[in-house]
Amino acid sequence: MGAIKQHLIDPEICIRCNTCEATCPIGAITHDDNNYVVDAAICNACMDCIAPCPTGSVDNWRRVERPYSIAEQFSWTELPPATPETETIDAFEDEAAVLLAEAHARGGGHAKAPASAAKPRVNLHNRANPAIATVTGNFRITSAEAESDVRHIILDFGATPFPVLEGQSIGITPPGMDAQARPHAMRLYSVASPRDGERPNTNNLALTVKRVAEKQPDGSIFHGVASNYICDLQRGDQVAVTGPFGATFLMPDDPATDILMICTGTGAAPFRGFTERRRRIAHRGPGRLWLFFGARTPQELPYFGPLQKVPTALLEQELVFSRLAGQPREYVQHRMAMRGPELAELLRRPATHVFLCGLKGLEAGVDDALAIVGRDGGFDWPTLRAAMRAEGRFHAETY
């Protein structure tokens, strides 16, 4: 995989209207009689040229070892061939790219986006030029008695454009410095709302954030800097946001596809986005959602209340609890095994997509469970998984 993310213009689609060249604030775009091209030495991936392009030709990116020169680009009649590895770019900011690569590593590394996913906008805002959002809501979504404090945070972007797709993440960096007087590191959070906002046509998004407060061996409690910063935000507070990030873990747009969603804890965030999206477009196709969702108790399961109101026709849900008084511990993989024949039937269908999101280790448990489902259902799960990955139908993001 190449080290440089190069911005290119597709000469087959470009109509040489000059919009990009006129829009570029730093003069990175130029042209000859044949093509409009981007000078890799100047372009800083600010994305200003992307939205005004009338053709979509300007939104092409390649990972390359050595950038194509302007002279090479002038001579093209089409773009050099691309592979998913060379053309989908999760983030231009290395800090965010590293975090996403790490989150995808255990699911098999860089994946391919679902065929019918909409084209994501990536990295419109970076550390140097963040979008400023206003907090318009901060609600606890685990019960007051539960130990775990998980919050539903709503960030409104006002007049600032911040287009996201279900499955993408945003970056938040806590203000201030760490103990070594360096700026804090960026954290990524999955967007928990659909693309058109908490209510249709609002310019906001939701996050699902768990307050990190972990008992240490010495009896002290470790308070996560970023999560506590976010969970303590008040209505009206302003937050600097980067992103959006992520170009592969995206919801398929085709309303006929079935989607199997497996998560634990705040891994539910993207699936709340998926579910709300489907709820809004349900009339367009027959696709169903399947949710396997694990938590210790119903009181600690984020969105337990709202989930009770989602109709079964839209969402088949299996909520699984590992700490119910007087009952054996049950995990999502156990419940998946119980629904084996139905899952086997679902997975054999060529349009089914699988998404995993949650804590590290979820992949292994799910793989074990689906291996058994496959054995009884007449397919080899590792083989099917590889095929699904290659078709953009298997995605995992864990942390």
Binding site: I15, C49, P54, A159, D253
Partner: protein, 467 residues
């Protein structure tokens, strides 16, 4: 956010020109608004006013987010007044006032000239909507139908842009001109639109694509020249309009390109080696290349007439006054006043065409036309790609600029009807104009686009016809 980037989206008229604080202009525009909506309902796309169309709306002049996509009923489209952000310390770039600060108010001495420029530009915008109003009924796909409607609503917004300038800067006269823009009708015997090409019918989709490629490209050249204007509000208006105009170029260039692509593909499949074997090609339900060439000849020549006379004192005056520059004046390297330079112009001398050097100032129309022809040539090259690739010897080409002209030096000089579309051509094209309204499906004579609008997948329902 820099000054002038904030768009007020709350009122009746979205704008970044401070209408909320400008009661006089706001009232004038709000008074004009009902007449505009009536005009749109009378003369806008026929039969689809209630349909939900997946449209791009300009909601900001910040490039990161200026476009928003969503389903909209066209009469509810947010037509706004949007100017590109002001450039601090901008100076007049050409003409007698070169180097002076750009005007924020109309200079009294150029009032009449400027008003005329605005009215002529403004008149073309509603005209094309009128010309295209019947096309929705025969769209070759929902994708194409959506693109047509996008072009239409943006032409509507461009009318708004010109009307704002008239209302804001020209008082009572401006208001009357704004009313007249809604009163004239394309092709009407009594109250026609001002320019010839905007009174021609756009009877079919090949005409529509040719029109958006050739005639809207004239619009682009005019806007480029006006974007250089020393009258800063006009410059900023036109700079923003250009980002929308680019979409029209896209619709035209890819529209014809997809027709050519489909024709070539069908000929290949059928094993036809001679692209001029019109009968066999037409039997395949695709448009033969010679017919496409004839349509091209017609639209190119009609559009050249829009550039006016080769030698023009009006153009010289507008340049000298600093109101209308040359194409990308700011990228040219000369004195920007054209005091002693010359420009080669094609003239008719004793029945022959010759190039003659004339004072550059009087040849500005010619120069813009030459830039236009070069800009067209780029697109023709793309249209020829699939023909070349398939190994056919046929090439589409621009006719000579002297062909089929009604205005200027070459009016009546070379008018060979065999190189223009015939009644038979039009009857054949008409026979293909049958609507295709299933998502992801295309008429037999046009290829699917390479990418969807807003990254949408192939079967996306760009228009929900019944709302």
């Amino acid at each position: 956010m820099p000054d002038g980037m904030d768009v007020d989206y709350d009122g009746l008229i979205p704008n970044n020109v401070g209408l909320a604080q400008d009661a006089r202009v706001r009232k004038a525009l709000e008074t004009w608004h009902p007449g505009y909506i009536d005009w749109w309902k009378d003369m806008g796309p026929e039969g689809f006013q209630e349909s939900l169309v997946y449209l791009r709306t300009a909601v900001s002049v910040d490039p990161k987010g200026w476009a928003k996509f969503g389903y909209v009923r066209m009469p509810e489209y947010k037509w706004g007044v949007l100017l590109a952000p002001a450039v601090e310390g901008r100076r007049i770039g050409f003409g007698a006032h070169k180097g002076e600060p750009a005007w924020q108010e109309v200079p009294g001495e150029y009032r009449a000239m400027l008003r005329r420029l605005l009215v002529i530009q403004g008149d073309t915008e509603p005209a094309s909507v009128e010309q295209q109003r019947h096309l929705g009924a025969t769209a070759p796909s929902l994708y194409d139908m959506r693109n047509l409607f996008q072009v239409n609503v943006e032409e509507g917004r461009h009318l708004w842009a010109m009307v704002y300038l008239l209302q804001k800067y020209f008082g009572t006269q401006g208001r009357e001109e704004a009313e007249d823009l809604l009163r004239r009708r394309s092709g009407d015997a009594d109250t026609p639109r001002m320019l010839g090409a905007f009174n021609e019918a756009t009877p079919d989709w090949l005409s529509f694509f040719m029109f958006t490629f050739f005639t809207d490209r004239d619009g682009k050249m005019q806007l480029e020249a006006l974007a250089q204007s020393g009258f800063d509000p006009l410059s900023r208006t036109c700079r923003f309009m250009l980002t929308e105009e680019a979409h029209h170029m896209f619709v035209g260039e890819t529209g014809v390109g997809r027709i050519v692509e489909r024709t070539v593909e069908a000929m290949k499949e059928a094993g036809i080696e001679d692209p001029t074997d019109v009968e066999r090609v037409r039997a395949l339900g695709v448009i033969d290349l010679p017919t496409i060439q004839r349509k091209l000849n017609l639209h190119f020549s009609l559009t050249l007439d829009l550039f006016g006379n080769e030698i023009s004192t009006n153009a010289a005056n507008a340049f000298n006054a600093g109101l209308k520059g040359r194409y990308r004046e700011d990228k040219l390297e000369d004195d920007h006043q054209l005091i002693s330079s010359t420009y080669p112009v094609l003239r008719l001398r004793d029945g022959k065409t010759v190039r003659e050097d004339v004072p550059a100032l009087s040849a500005l129309n010619m120069r813009l036309r030459d830039d236009y022809v070069a800009d067209c040539q780029g697109g023709i090259g793309r249209w020829n790609k699939p023909i070349e690739k398939a190994g056919y010897a046929f090439r589409l080409d621009l006719p000579a600029v002297t062909f089929n002209r009604k205005i200027g030096e070459f009016a009546g000089f070379d008018s060979d009807p065999a190189r223009l579309p015939t009644d038979d051509d039009h009857a054949f094209i008409d026979s293909l104009m049958r609507p295709v309204t299933e998502g992801g499906k295309y008429a037999s004579w046009i290829a699917a686009p390479k990418v969807g609008i807003d990254g949408k997948p192939g079967e996306f329902e760009y228009v929900r016809i019944h709302g």
